[in-house]
Point group: C2
DNA sequence: GATGCGCTGTGATTATATTCACAGTAACTC
DNA sequence: GAGTTACTGTGAATATAATCACAGCGCATC
């Protein structure tokens, strides 16, 4: 997908694994580890050493040939790759059970994302404050959004008219959407969408329970 | 991974897409559509028609050559593949903000999963009832679990001693874990783990915002 | 019942991802 | 300062996934 100046490509699968690497690197850093070898890090994230080296090499060369990789340095580099070395504001649509759990979740901030504005459609919720953030009416979207400079939105609302909400978000300058609503939505040009579907993960697990990582599969 | 009697393999990526297919098939079914062509379904899930046909063919042949695929039939077949044609009980560990959102979420039941038991460690929560389910103390895990015949657990608890909790779940007969805790856990032999990490999805989106589905990428 | 159309299922092909395996080298030893 | 060790980065090889492209068929039409 993306390309480094030197011409190397970086695949989305690599980017996904990068999140894992960073997560365990944070743990190592907390434990005071300064350097780590590819085989150690690979072991921790359950990936082959060769793959880890290739992933890291795909955006430049960082390993010291006999000390391994510098933990803190690598954390910073990956954060820059993600653009999360500085906190960025995101919008939340829907302050229901899930939306409020997200508002009280501190894990986002730790990873560089700050839910800065909240919107809902339920009159009962407008004006209320959740974890320090006031809930606005969805009809004020265009009026309120520019105050916060957000490029990403999290959808945790109802399923009705979802696509038109997405289109509207696109027109209002949102470039990426994290979608928790179990409906297929279509990105407008230049917009990125990631769906989160717990049930799908459960289905995968259930499939694995039946047919195993191991083999023979009968209908 | 898995193999059909005829010897065909079915890959995990196919299984993941199968969840998508089923989701839009449900929509079609609700709208009264009886049959659908591969190119229509493919368009709805944003996948190539050839891939869709191959995915479906990978667990047997189901398309009528001139009517396309029978919508309802296909829903049933995919459900059987997942083992979600009958409701299965799952356990929830942790009745915090996220855990309670999951308890009140009806989407699981619609997809064949029923959160049947809840465990927490916080004395204040033990004995309380959330969405009809009583919360048990985690120390009673081994005593209570067998009553419910669960093979899958959802982790929405704190991060302390997580791995030993996982090991304990394994010994208590849990075969699959859906893990919301942002720590790397290691499956015991024969156990399957799926991690849900919202922040990782946000990181991916943020990366895409910076470097685009389009190309040139500079450090 | 012959003709044409447009579908599915799949062999063949191409593209992508992963692993192998090793050249090159920093650090450490004596 | 020569020898040894164990690492990284990466071409080459392999494995896996996606796409192409078409044979073969059911159905509609005449
Ligand atoms: N609760 C969960 O654990 C969970 C899990 C997975 C997916 N989801 C999905 O996430 C979404 C939210 O789930 P929930 O449990 O919080 O539901 P909820 O009913 O508790 O909350 C939905 C909130 O969205 C608001 N809303 C509805 N339409 C809106 C709109 N057009 N604009 C702005 N706000 C709007 C509602 O007023 C409500 O406050 C649902 O689509 C659900 O399917 C929830
Ligand atoms: N809230 C979110 O939106 C969100 C999002 C992503 C991930 N997570 C993760 O999910 C987990 C739960 O999040 P939360 O917001 O519900 O936190 P929370 O603090 O509200 O709830 C955690 C609950 O787990 C219980 N608990 C802790 N240790 C336990 C143990 N060993 N056994 C049983 N119960 C135990 C606590 O008593 C508490 O009730 C956390 O690890 C969090 O990082 C949460």
């Amino acid at each position: 997908m993306a390309r480094e100046k030197s011409g190397k490509k970086i695949s989305l699968q690599t980017v996904e694994r990068m999140s894992l690497y960073r997560k365990v690197l944070e743990d190592l850093h907390r434990d005071g580890v300064a350097n780590v070898y590819s085989h150690q890090l690979a072991e921790l994230v359950r990936v082959s050493p060769a793959q880890l080296r290739r992933d890291l090499a795909s955006f430049g060369s960082f390993g010291n040939i006999s000390k391994g990789y510098p933990v803190y340095q690598l954390i910073l580099t990956i954060s820059r790759l993600f653009g999360t070395d500085t906190l960025q504001n995101v919008a939340l649509i829907g302050a229901g059970n899930l939306g409020r759990a997200l508002l009280f979740y501190r894990g986002f901030e730790e990873r560089g994302f700050h839910i800065a504005v909240v919107f809902d459609i339920d009159a009962e919720k407008i004006g209320r404050v959740f974890a320090g953030r006031r809930c606005h009416h969805i009809q004020d979207l265009e009026a309120v959004l520019p105050d916060f400079g957000v490029a990403m939105a999290i959808l945790a609302c109802g399923a009705q008219n979802l696509q038109s909400l997405v289109d509207r978000l696109g027109r209002a300058g949102i470039r990426s959407i994290l979608n928790f609503v179990p409906r297929q939505i279509h990105a407008v040009a230049g917009m990125n969408v990631e769906n989160v579907d717990f049930s799908a993960k459960m289905e995968k697990l259930s499939f694995l329970n039946r047919y195993g990582t191991a083999l023979e599969f009968e209908i």
